[in-house]
Subunit: 290 residues, 2 copies
């Protein structure tokens, strides 16, 4: 398939296209039915995407608080590895935008840029803030309709809020993703201030609400009973809201293998992500190419 012909089949608008490591880093916009607003997403197409008839594996990347689809594609340096491995990388935005919901732009850690990858159930968020369904259903369906991807070979990874998003996407959909990984994920949102703020807003109820557990990776992994799933995490030290030790304990309980690298001296920035994104893509390639 010739990459330049892809646009003919799409319901997307191409926002940008840059040749990169022999492939193309592209950004598209579309009207999301799930989120009822215009959304951007990024797609890296490695050189192998031009091979006639070849269907490639795809890895989804979910970004953290305040990010858009741009941060990862500009700063992580993932294209080099994706080009070598023949993997497509898809990066959605982190929330609906411009929905005119009162208060949507008041906080950096709630509303715009902070969708937490849940399907909101509380007013006024429940109409638009359906990032879980967007990321696990609408976006993959659009990607599979429009790009040379194998629908049976997808994996997911993310950073911080998006690391938690990747974990719940893999844990809740049981078998939809071949593998999952995260950089310094929020591990146990029902037990940290960022998570409590987000869940009380999007899901309603208060601290201790049982419905929250269906959106908490630590709660979900403790009772996981889906196909085998190995979790890879890179974590740095010194951030007391992330709670990786709670996740690891719950993984043991749920019999889900987890490899946790504590990377001393690193921080929450993309310098950390760039340093280890190659290892994460190798982790996914192991399952996607098995």
């Amino acid at each position: 398939m010739c990459i330049s012909s892809i646009t003919l089949k799409m319901t997307f608008t191409e926002v940008s296209s840059n040749r990169c490591f022999g492939g193309y880093q592209k950004v598209f916009s579309h009207e999301s039915k799930e989120l009822k607003c215009k959304m951007n997403f990024a797609v890296y197409l490695p050189p192998q995407a031009e091979n006639d008839g070849e269907k490639l594996p795809v890895v989804y990347w979910l970004s953290g608080l305040t990010c858009t689809e741009q941060n990862f594609i500009q700063k992580a340096g993932a294209q080099r590895y994706a080009s070598e491995l023949g993997i497509i990388i898809v990066c959605p935005d982190t929330s609906p935008r411009g929905c005119n919901i009162p208060g949507e732009d008041d906080s950096w850690d709630f509303g715009t840029g902070a969708g937490f990858y849940v399907d909101a159930t509380a007013d006024p968020w429940k109409k638009n803030y359906r990032m879980f369904s967007y990321v696990t259903e609408e976006l993959p369906n659009l990607i599979e309709d429009s790009f040379p991807v194998d629908p049976n070979r997808k994996s997911i990874m993310g950073h911080s809020m998006g690391g938690h998003g990747a974990l719940i996407c893999a844990l809740k959909t049981k078998g939809k993703y071949c593998s999952v990984s995260a950089f310094s994920p929020i591990c146990h949102p029902t037990a940290c201030p960022w998570g409590k703020k987000a869940f009380s807003g999007y899901l309603g109820g208060g601290d201790g609400d049982k419905s929250w557990e269906e959106w908490d990776a630590t709660c979900l992994v403790a009772k996981y009973n889906g196909p085998p799933l190995e979790i890879l995490i890179h974590q740095f030290l010194k951030e007391n809201q992330l709670l990786p030790e709670k996740l690891v304990a719950a993984c043991t309980q749920g019999k889900v293998p987890v490899v946790l690298h504590m990377s001393e001296g690193y921080d929450h920035s993309y310098y950390f992500i760039a340093s280890f994104i190659g290892q994460h893509l190798e982790h996914h390639a192991k399952y996607l190419k098995a």
Copy 2:
């Protein structure tokens, strides 16, 4: 040398420090004597910088129009290669800042962010806009005083305006740099609108002024008589101000070997730089480690 002790010897202020690929990406600020203003510069210290007594080679990166010291360190992905090769990378800012010169912030391609790496001779720029002396003298002297670098093993590279800057630094100082490379450099500023605007402002005179030739890479390389110097250039197509064909013709005249890669489909962005920065660092390593 322990990297954490470096700060004790310096006249710099550490602005940021991020662990990256086993080393550190740092940004410092200092009061420049040459430019008479506060300047930021970035330094990537690979893991080898911690080896007791070892002096590492250093490559200077000069950015293009509108950039600061941040663009390259966030977007080029060079730290991975520098970590593997044991090379320190230093990135200065692109111009003096905040000098309160009338008009300094009026254009994106002249004044702030657009110093063109020349020593200005015309009022009101000549007091501060001395980027050539800053980049080739003041900054290397400070770096050599404060970091574990070998003063006899330095090379230089850059992008666009900074690609031209790298070429004139290597050609004018004859032997100071072991090697030079450039991404889509402005090759012949006396013959293109960006260059004519900059040179008439910083150097005075008008189109055809003989003094301009001392700051034009194509003019300089045609009469180069210094130590052997091989130029590596990656260029994309379709930009008619860059004039690589003029430089290559002049290299033949000056008997300076040049390797020009025309990278079809790429553009002026950091996606282009990221795709080939590994090749550029390998080029420099060949000479720095000879």
